[in-house]
């Protein structure tokens, strides 16, 4: 099994409802490029025009927020789980 991206509900209309997408290695940026190739339009939902991650999206590699790692340059492992998670309320 290669690495997988878990697609959050609000983005599944781009992926025909698919919940997980297998990806090759590289960085988060590479992963986003790959997703864009497969599901055109998805990247503008994830990133601002200048390429930064949108404010209300959190991306995790194996459970760690990429803001604690190398942000969009964070390298993914061979069997990483990449989660794209909308910010949600606390309690």
């Amino acid at each position: 099994m290669p690495s997988t991206v878990i697609i959050p509900t609000p983005l599944r209309r781009f992926t025909d409802g698919v919940e997980t997408v297998p990806v090759e290695g590289g960085t988060i940026k590479d992963v986003f490029n790959y997703l864009e190739e497969k599901f055109p339009g998805i990247r503008t939902r994830l990133c601002e025009e200048n390429g930064d991650l949108r404010r209300f999206i959190n991306v995790y590699v194996d459970g760690e927020d990429i803001r604690f790692l190398d942000r969009l340059d964070t390298a993914i492992g061979e069997k990483s789980e990449i989660s794209i998670v909308p910010a949600i309320a606390g309690g």
Partner: protein, 413 residues
């Protein structure tokens, strides 16, 4: 009869129908309930509200249910205590404590959000509810779900206070401790919510859940005789409560219940988890997440979803945000207990300790009317306190007299 027009993205404004939906599909911004304030203004009067029972539902026109509430019917209506002894101790002219430490049924303000969220979950026809929680929300979802006969799935970090865990399990909920901190739990919950039909109150029902907190603000204004205070100090975890109190005050202006005013909003955090306070102090609205390490576990959210909006409310109203150490939190818990007879949890200690800090910095005008949001109960966080053991005396009058020797004259009959 509902005055809800629909849901609306707080960032890009895209409108949505009322659905169990929390996130904008265009921009990932959070969705918010949009009301027809003009219609509410025509229909609702202060006299009408005064004639209703003293619960949070007296403001039901400003809450997002289609029908009558079915869960949490007795929540809200907590005292606004004029805290004269504390006011003197910390040097404030007019000080009030909004005391949700005595909230029904689970002793925290979370009973307000859960009452709305579970009533809404039933309107949507969910057969199971759940939450990710730092403790208080867990207690309230579990209690209210049991009273409503709905199964509950409750995910918590594995390091919570014993009494918060026990106070959840007692209601028969499915309690799932998750290895990690709240932010790990939250991520898992949102992935579960994407796959199963469970109404997670703070995930897929978030727009409705947050609205319940507004009643904390409506009550403050009504209890002050339909006036707004000059300042409020509010503990922050995800940053929702502070923004909802602000929204509540604005709502009351919109429907003409209070004169327009500019209360300052002060946000309180623990130094061991201060992402919102740090952003305010750095002059930015962008939150840098942290890994929490504080005794104020109910506030230990390192990646606050409403941080962007909380910093907005704080800076727009001319307020400020500070954070305090664990010893300062503990000391403040004692001060509140010894001056006002109110035993609050660590979150309340954070609120009072930050208030004192803001006063010493000159940021909080002491010649004003200030309300402290005391949102939880001290019996739940006893782990945070350590009092020295008491030594028993022999059951003889002489032993007691020896103990009170210093005070004996004053106490003499």
């Amino acid at each position: 009869m509902s005055y809800v027009k629909g849901l609306k993205c707080r960032i890009c404004g895209t409108p949505y129908q009322v659905d169990p939906l929390a996130i904008c599909e265009e921009c990932f911004g959070p969705l918010e309930v949009d009301y027809d304030y003009d219609a509410i203004k025509v229909k609702l009067t202060k006299e009408e509200i005064a004639s209703r029972p003293g619960t949070m539902w007296r403001y039901k026109e400003l809450l997002p249910l289609d029908g009558e509430p079915t869960v949490g019917l007795h929540s809200g209506g907590t005292p606004l205590v004029k805290a004269d002894r504390l006011a003197r101790a910390i040097g404030v002219r007019e000080l009030y404590i909004k005391n949700d430490a005595v909230s029904h049924p689970t002793l925290s303000f979370k009973d307000r959000v859960v009452a709305v969220a579970l009533s809404k979950a039933r309107e949507f026809g969910f057969d199971a509810v759940g939450c990710a929680s730092t403790g208080n929300l867990a207690n309230s979802v579990a209690a209210n779900a049991s009273a409503a006969g709905i199964p509950a799935y409750i995910l918590i970090p594995d390091n919570l206070e014993r009494s918060k865990v026990l106070g959840t399990r007692i209601f028969g909920a499915n309690v799932v401790p998750v290895r990690g901190n709240y932010d790990d739990v939250n991520r898992l919950c949102s992935e579960i919510a994407g796959r199963y039909r469970i109404a997670f109150v703070n995930v897929n029902l978030r727009p409705f859940y947050g609205e319940g907190s507004k009643t904390f603000g409506y009550e403050i204004a009504e209890q002050l005789g339909w006036q707004l205070p000059d300042a409020v100090v509010v503990p922050m975890a995800g940053g929702s409560l502070i923004t909802k109190i602000h929204k509540a005050f604005k709502d009351l202006e919109k429907i003409g219940f209070v004169e327009p005013a500019e209360p300052r909003f002060f946000g309180a955090q623990a130094t061991g988890c201060n992402p919102i306070a740090a952003a305010v102090k750095a002059g930015t609205r962008d939150i840098t997440p942290v890994k929490p390490d504080t005794i104020a576990k109910s506030l230990a959210i390192g990646n606050p979803a409403d941080g962007y909006f909380a910093t907005g409310v704080i800076t727009e109203t001319g307020g400020w945000s500070e954070d305090v150490s664990d010893p300062e939190i503990v000391e403040a818990i004692h001060v509140l207990a010894e001056t006002e007879g109110i035993f609050t949890e660590t979150a309340g200690g954070v609120t009072l300790a930050v208030t004192r800090k803001l006063i010493s910095q000159g940021r909080l005008n002491t010649n004003s009317r200030v309300v402290l949001a005391i949102t939880g109960n001290g019996l739940k966080t006893q782990d945070a306190l350590s009092l020295v053991d008491l030594q028993p005396i022999e059951p003889h009058l002489s032993a007691f007299e020896k103990l009170i020797a210093g005070e004996a004259k004053k106490l003499a009959a």
